[in-house]
Structures are given as structure tokens and as C-alpha cells.
């Protein structure tokens, strides 16, 4: 180390806003950094974007509805299909609420799918023997524990959340298979309430409002946003960074457990391979809602819209008789498209 580094070296330990090459990319980056041109924070649609960012999720909702409304007609626009869509979206949205907060804090949770399966399975197994309430509690505690493990490994042991939750994705799935003995487990009849219309909607509404309040009206929510914005600033303002991270992942686990309960109730049974690949669906819902993976911005309503768009897309294609492989391809393209949009918006988020 050179003898001159201390003071400035310390201040610079945060990576600066990256610039690769002055000649090629300098223009935009320099513009963002140049001293203080006053930029109206409402004028988002500048430059490459054709519409204000917040409009994109709403617009995609309208586009998807209109498209399938025309092509699939009354089968898509019927009341019963709408109810089906709502239930389908709830299954996606509930665990995605947890993922939303985690992404806003600048981290990622890849383990939701496996945790949904695990909690559903544990809940069903316990409920069969000990009744509904104990089963529900078991599911919630399992989710909480999975989240706690994620949170501790991430915040205390400082393993990046991507790796921690990738590990949990595998571990939770393995435990699910182990406890179930590779057999599906039927849930008791009382459990089914959580998968039918008033029940699942009530569960969804409670989760939605709870997460919204948590994000917008509590100091915990404010700290979550702060972590995603710039962790060092948060730390220097006295935020208990580790604590916030651990609680975040516990919350994520809890939401996954509620999702697991709803999913197993809807299917009527907990299966060891339930919710395979669901982590991607959840992340897609968050991203489609316009929450950038860079953290620091986002809200819960957008995730609901993202979930709605996703389930409409799948449902619409099923009604139109689109084959499974084409569904997969469309889903993939939509996910990448959503990330593309969210990246663009993230950049504007920095300039804004």
C-alpha cells in the first residue's frame, strides 16, 4: 500500500459509478455526473424512453388484457376466468411480496420456490396428524427458519445473497423430498379454504396490505430502501444493517410459507416437486412490475400487477391452445423483456 492511501483510500472504498470507456460511453455517464445540472425528477421520459416508467406495468396489463380479450374472447373475459386469474396471481404474488422487499434492499432470493414446496409439505404432513392450526404454524415456522438461515448466512457470515439462496434452493428441495418420502401428501379438507375464492383472496389482501404498510409506513421499510440505495450511507446513519437484512429474509421466508399454504390448498395436496422453477416466476413478477434488480426503488402494488400480467399471459395462452413449449418460450422472452425495461428504468432511477 502506498503511504498516501489512508484518507482518500477509505473514502473511495465504495465503487464509483462505473465508467468503462470515456470515448464510447462517456457522454451519458458524464452527463449523469456533471456537477449540478438541475434535472426535474418528474421528467422521467427523457431520452430513450417513450413513456414514463411507472406507466409500463399498467400499460402491459392493458396490452395483455386487450390482446387476449380480442383473441380469446369471452372465455378469457368471463367472470369465472377472472376469478381463476385472481387466484393464480395470488399464488404468485404472495411469495413475490417477500422477494420484492429483498430486491428493493439490493439482494436476491432464489430459494422461494423450494421454500414454498417445503413449507407446503411440512404444513400438510403436520396438519394431517395434529390438525389445521398446528399445521399452519408448522408451515410458518418452517418458512421463518429457512429465511432465518438465509438471513444469517448472508448478513452475519457475509456470503452474497445470490449464493446463499441458491444453496437454500437446493437444500429446501432436498429436505422436502426427504420429509415427504417422495410421496405427495393430501391436505385435510379444512386446509382447502386457503385455496378457494374468498380464502385465498383474503390471504392475498392481508399480505398485500401488510407488505405495503411495512414498506411505506414503517422505519423498517425505510431502512430496507436505504440498504438498496447505498449500504454505507445507511450504516453511517446508524442503521443496524445486519438486523435489517436478517429480518428481511425472515419476512421472505414467512411470505413463501403463506404461498406454500395457498398453493398446497389450491392443488389439494403438497407434492415434493411443487413450485419447481417458481423462484423465476416470482422474480419475473417483481421485475415485470418495474422494480429494478439494482435496489433502492420499488413498490408492492407493482408486484401485484406483475403477477397479474404473468398469470394472464399463461392463462391466455392456455385458452388459445398454445402448446407448452411455446408457452415456455413466451415466458422466457417476457422475462428478458421485463429485465430490459427495468434496467432502462434503473438508469433513469439513478439520474432522476
Amino acid at each position: 500500500m502506498s503511504p498516501e492511501t489512508d484518507d482518500a483510500g477509505l473514502a473511495l472504498s465504495q465503487p464509483p459509478v462505473g465508467i468503462d470507456s470515456i470515448d464510447e460511453q462517456g457522454g451519458a455517464a458524464l452527463r449523469a455526473k456533471s456537477a449540478h445540472p438541475r434535472i426535474n425528477y418528474r421528467s422521467w421520459g427523457r431520452g430513450t424512453q417513450l413513456m414514463p416508467a411507472w406507466l409500463v406495468p399498467f400499460l402491459s396489463l392493458i396490452v395483455v388484457t386487450t390482446f387476449f380479450g380480442i383473441t380469446a374472447g369471452s372465455r378469457f373475459l368471463s367472470l369465472s376466468n377472472f376469478s381463476f386469474l385472481l387466484q393464480q396471481s395470488a399464488i404468485i404474488a404472495i411469495p413475490a411480496f417477500g422477494v420484492t422487499l429483498i430486491i428493493i434492499a439490493g439482494s436476491i432470493d432464489l430459494s422461494v420456490g423450494s421454500v414454498v414446496a417445503l413449507t407446503g409439505m411440512v404444513g400438510a404432513l403436520v396438519a394431517v396428524d395434529h390438525g389445521l392450526v398446528v399445521g399452519l404454524l408448522a408451515a410458518l415456522v418452517t418458512g421463518l427458519l429457512a429465511g432465518l438461515c438465509n438471513g444469517l448466512a448472508f448478513a452475519v457470515l457475509k456470503v452474497p445473497s445470490f449464493i446463499v439462496t441458491l444453496g437454500m434452493l437446493s437444500v429446501a428441495r432436498g429436505v422436502t423430498v426427504k420429509v415427504s418420502g417422495s410421496q405427495p401428501e393430501n391436505v385435510p379438507d379444512s386446509w382447502l379454504w386457503f385455496g378457494e375464492m374468498p380464502g385465498i383472496f383474503i390471504l392475498f389482501a392481508i399480505c398485500f396490505m401488510g407488505t405495503s404498510v411495512l414498506l411505506h409506513l414503517t422505519s423498517f421499510g425505510r431502512r430496507t430502501v436505504a440498504l438498496g440505495g447505498q449500504e454505507r450511507v445507511a450504516r453511517l446513519a446508524g442503521v443496524r444493517v445486519q438486523q435489517v437484512k436478517i429480518i428481511l429474509f425472515c419476512f421472505g421466508g414467512l411470505m413463501a410459507a403463506l404461498g406454500g399454504i395457498a398453493l398446497s390448498a389450491r392443488v389439494g395436496a403438497a407434492t415434493p416437486d411443487a413450485a419447481g422453477g417458481f423462484e423465476l416466476t416470482a422474480i419475473a413478477a417483481v421485475v415485470l412490475g418495474g422494480t429494478p434488480l439494482t435496489g433502492g426503488i420499488g413498490n408492492v402494488l407493482n408486484t401485484v400487477i406483475g403477477a397479474l400480467v404473468l398469470s394472464m399471459l399463461l392463462n391466455g395462452m392456455v385458452i388459445l391452445g398454445v402448446s407448452g413449449e411455446i408457452q415456455l418460450i413466451t415466458q422466457g422472452v417476457v422475462l428478458v423483456g421485463a429485465v430490459l425495461l427495468s434496467l432502462d428504468r434503473a438508469k433513469i432511477g439513478i439520474i432522476k
Binding site: 470515448d23 464510447e24 449540478h36 446508524g238 442503521v239
Partner: protein, 499 residues
């Protein structure tokens, strides 16, 4: 005077939504001559940065014309400006910190030494050496750029610009974060460039430097040109009067109760790699200033008191009780506040609404069981916006839209919601204009008058003398001198203790 000036700006206006950043009077011209170092001075928000960003092609003027050596000049982007021989070095270093100095020097110029994407390390080394030769001081080419102090990074940027042999070099507040030696190196580089016939447009808050270094000074206020002066025929006092319109800055006159129990007492505090055996006392209502050069370890003292780094030995006593903070959270709970030197990366969130920024440090105390009241939060923010005169468009504005001084006020306001016993400030007015500076100084004085202990770490000797009751100088991690401000130490004296 030559027939065609190097650069001529005519009737320039630049509008942003809601504001006008630059507005020349009808028909007004601003000319720049070759071989000159031409300073642009003015408070933050006076339009200096906007004006140079137009010249450098970062932005386009709303109206008005520019002429480069008599030819109409309207660069569409930085690349075009650069091809016309106009280059800019910005306030923030644009450095890839994981790359070596050598790679940074040639950043964006890879095509010059690489053919078909392949390059010979020796050729590259030769190019880098050529760039380095333009600096008065050598920097190790193999060093990782991120490990270097800010001033070396800026010198690297200078070399990177100079190697393209521009005719016009714009330097935006380069010296704001530099040590005395760094400033000297920079000045020498600029003088050599101007002596070679180049034009330098130089933005600086350091008026001593401006008077000393520049040939001409153009003073801007609120986006308009006040006047252009020959530097030899003016002085610092005169320029600062023109900048603000009224007189500023006075020394503190406080009576500190010497018998009061100290707010903070450090007893032979040592932090590995930062400082050794530091003992000092801060009493209620007292401002203790710590001065030192780049590697003096003063920053380490602040971080150790605030719980960011662990001291290896010695003790920190807060109001007579020994404390050993394991995190800033504990320090904050105990009534310690810290305003870091790097405002934009450590002090506040540029993209977070002002009211939320201000809320951040006090939420644990102002929330009801974790629930926030947005109206209370807005009311608090508005109170501080008024009290500190933060110039913004309401509490929902984001600090990114504010000038440096106003950003700093937001960073400080965060710690005023609760009454803190000890406030640690590190370079609170770095990169802040004179008006903002005196406002921030007034806030610091007010806090001291209300009984807070203040530990002020500053590279700015004027500031130390203007604000401190006691001045401590540090050299190589140790206290080199400690004096009362009543002894009226001069800057020369202080520097002597630091070197």
C-alpha cells in the same frame, strides 16, 4: 489582443425544467484567449458547471452561439468536442478503480496501442510513460488506481486528457479535495499547458489559488456574468464580494466553560494503521478542530469514535463514561453524530427524497413502535429546510438536484432532528461555495452555542481557524500540536505543525 479569440460565447442561455441555469444578458459575449488560464468563479448554482458542460459538449445550450477560433462551434457530444480539441476534467474522478494506473491512463484510447484487438505490453507501457511525462510527479504505473489518494486519481485524469493534446482544457473544481502538494502539482501542469499556447478554463472555490494561478477571472452570480477581471488587478476579498454581493465569514467568539465535564475524552486512543496515542478533550459548547494532511490519521479518529473501526488500545469516554461502540448504531444511540467527508457516497442518498434522508438517523426515536407518520416527517423536513435555508423544491425533492452546499445541509439536518451531544464533522464545506459555507458555519456555531460538543476535522485551515476554540494538528497518526484559538494561530503556523 488577438483578432479572433480562442473561444467566444454569445448570448448563451440554458434552461432546465423549472430553472434557468445560465442566462447571458442580451447580446453579451464572453471571450477566452489562448495561452490564458481563465477562472470561472461563483457560488454553487451560479452556473459555472453548466456553462463548461455546454463548452465540453455534455449538454446543448437552449439558445446562443459558441465560436471556437472564429468558427461556429456546436458540439453534439463529448467525443465531438474532443475532436475539436476541447476536453474536460470533472470534479469527481472518473477512474476505474480496479484497473492499474497504466490502464486508466489509456482508458478509452485502447485503439491507439492495440492493433486488431491485440496489443504489445511494451507499446502500451511506452504510451503510458508518454502520458505520465506530462505530470510533474510520477505515479507508479502498476498501482491499482482505487488504492491511490484522490489527488493522484485526478492527476491521472489530467494526464489522460493532456495526452490527446487538446487546445482547450476545462478543469472543474479539481482542487476541492486535494492536499497542498497536489494543488501545486496541478497548478504546475496547468501553467505548462497554458505556456504551450493552450487555454485553460478553470473552476475553483479556492480564491487564493485563482488569484495566484489565473490570468483572468470571470465572476458568475445566479447564471449571469457579473464581470471579468484581470487577475493581477484584483484580490480575493474583491472577488468574494462580487460573488456574494455582501460580506461574509467571521471568527467565532465563544466562551467555553473550561470546568464543564467533557462530552468526549480520548485517552491515548490508537487505531492500527490510522493513529496512535491520541488524547483530546471536547467540552460542551466547544469546537475542537483537527487539522492534518492526507495521511494524518484524523479520519481514523473520527471513525473510531463513531464505532466504524475498532481501536486497538486506549479509551473513548462519552460524558465521563467509557464506551466501546461496536457499530455506528450504538454511537448514534449514545448521541454521537457523524457527517462524513464524502458527502455523496457516505453522507446522504442522492436519490432519496429529502424528508426521508432527514428521517433516516432518527426514525428509531420518532416512530411509534416502528410506524412512521409521513406528515410529521414532512413537517420536520420543512422545518429544517427553512432553518438551514436548504434551497430545493420542497421536501419531496431529491438531493441530486441540489448544489453541494445544500446537499451538505441535508446531510447535517439528519443529525439535528434529535439533540446530539457530540457532532463529528469531516470537511463539512469541501466543494461548497462561499455563501453555503458561511451558512454551514453558522449552523455549526449555533449547535456549539446550544451546548453540543463538536469535533471538526478539516483540510481547510481557514475553516479551522474560523470555527475552532481549540485546534489540534496531527502528523503521521499522532497529535503534533494543540493550541487554543485565543492564541490566534496563523495558517503558516498550523501547516508547520502538520508537515
Amino acid at each position: 489582443m488577438s483578432a479572433t479569440p480562442a473561444l467566444e460565447l454569445k448570448g448563451i442561455e440554458k434552461h432546465y425544467p423549472g430553472t434557468v441555469a445560465v442566462r447571458f444578458r442580451p447580446g453579451e459575449k464572453l471571450t477566452f484567449e489562448d495561452g490564458h488560464i481563465h477562472a470561472l468563479v461563483g457560488q454553487n448554482g451560479a452556473g459555472k458547471s453548466t456553462l463548461v458542460s455546454l463548452i465540453a459538449g455534455l449538454q446543448k445550450p437552449t439558445t446562443g452561439d459558441m465560436f471556437l477560433r472564429g468558427e461556429p462551434y456546436a458540439p453534439a457530444n463529448v467525443g465531438q468536442a474532443r475532436r475539436s480539441g476541447v476536453d474536460i476534467v470533472l470534479q469527481e474522478p472518473l477512474i476505474e478503480e480496479h484497473m492499474s494506473v497504466e490502464e486508466n491512463l489509456l482508458l478509452g484510447r485502447e485503439a491507439r496501442y492495440a492493433r486488431h484487438g491485440l496489443f504489445n505490453p511494451r507499446t502500451r507501457r511506452r504510451f503510458a510513460e508518454a502520458a505520465m511525462a506530462r505530470l510533474p510527479r510520477r505515479i507508479d504505473l502498476k498501482a491499482r488506481a482505487g488504492d491511490l489518494p484522490i489527488e493522484s486519481q485526478k492527476l491521472i485524469e489530467m494526464a489522460r486528457a493532456l495526452v490527446l493534446e487538446p487546445k482547450l482544457l476545462i478543469v472543474d473544481e479539481l482542487s476541492a479535495a486535494m492536499s497542498a502538494r497536489g494543488v501545486k502539482d496541478l497548478e504546475q501542469t496547468l501553467r505548462e499547458f497554458a505556456a504551450g499556447g493552450g487555454l485553460v478554463i478553470y473552476i475553483s472555490h479556492h480564491l487564493d489559488e485563482v488569484v495566484d494561478l489565473c490570468d483572468r477571472v470571470t465572476i458568475l452570480r445566479d447564471g449571469t456574468i457579473v464581470t471579468t477581471l484581470e487577475a493581477k488587478q484584483t484580490n480575493k476579498q474583491h472577488i468574494s464580494e462580487l460573488m456574494v454581493g455582501n460580506e461574509v465569514e467571521e471568527s467565532a467568539h465563544r466562551s467555553v466553560n473550561e470546568d464543564a465535564a467533557p462530552v468526549l475524552e480520548l485517552k491515548s486512543l490508537s487505531v492500527p494503521g490510522q493513529c496512535t496515542d491520541i488524547s483530546l478533550v471536547v467540552r460542551p459548547g466547544e469546537v475542537v478542530g483537527i487539522g492534518g494532511l492526507m495521511d494524518s490519521g484524523a479520519a481514523g479518529v473520527a471513525l473510531a469514535v463513531f464505532g466504524m473501526i475498532k481501536p486497538s488500545s486506549g479509551s473513548v469516554e462519552l460524558n465521563g463514561t467509557p464506551v466501546r461502540f461496536r457499530s455506528p448504531t450504538q454511537a448514534v444511540s449514545a448521541g454521537v453524530a457523524y457527517v462524513p467527508a464524502d458527502r455523496d457516497r457516505e453522507g446522504l442518498f442522492l436519490n432519496m427524497r429529502i424528508d426521508r434522508n432527514i428521517d433516516l438517523a432518527s426514525m428509531s426515536w420518532t416512530s411509534m413502535a416502528g410506524f412512521l407518520d409521513p406528515r410529521r416527517s414532512a413537517a420536520t423536513a420543512n422545518k429544517f429546510i427553512k432553518r438551514l435555508d436548504i434551497r430545493c423544491r420542497g421536501c419531496r425533492d431529491i438531493p441530486l438536484n441540489l448544489s453541494g452546499g445544500n446537499r451538505q445541509k441535508v446531510a447535517i439536518a439528519k443529525w439535528l432532528v434529535r439533540d446530539n451531544r457530540l457532532l463529528i464533522l469531516h470537511n463539512p464545506t469541501r466543494g461548497v461555495d462561499i455563501g453555503g459555507r458561511s451558512e454551514i458555519h453558522a449552523v455549526i456555531n449555533e449547535l456549539a452555542d446550544r451546548g453540543a460538543g463538536i469535533l471538526l476535522i478539516s483540510d481547510d485551515l481557514h475553516e479551522l481557524i474560523a470555527l475552532s476554540d481549540t485546534i489540534v494538528t496531527m502528523r503521521r497518526g499522532a497529535v503534533s500540536a494543540q493550541m487554543s484559538n485565543r492564541a490566534k494561530p496563523t495558517e503558516k503556523e498550523l501547516i508547520g505543525h502538520m508537515l
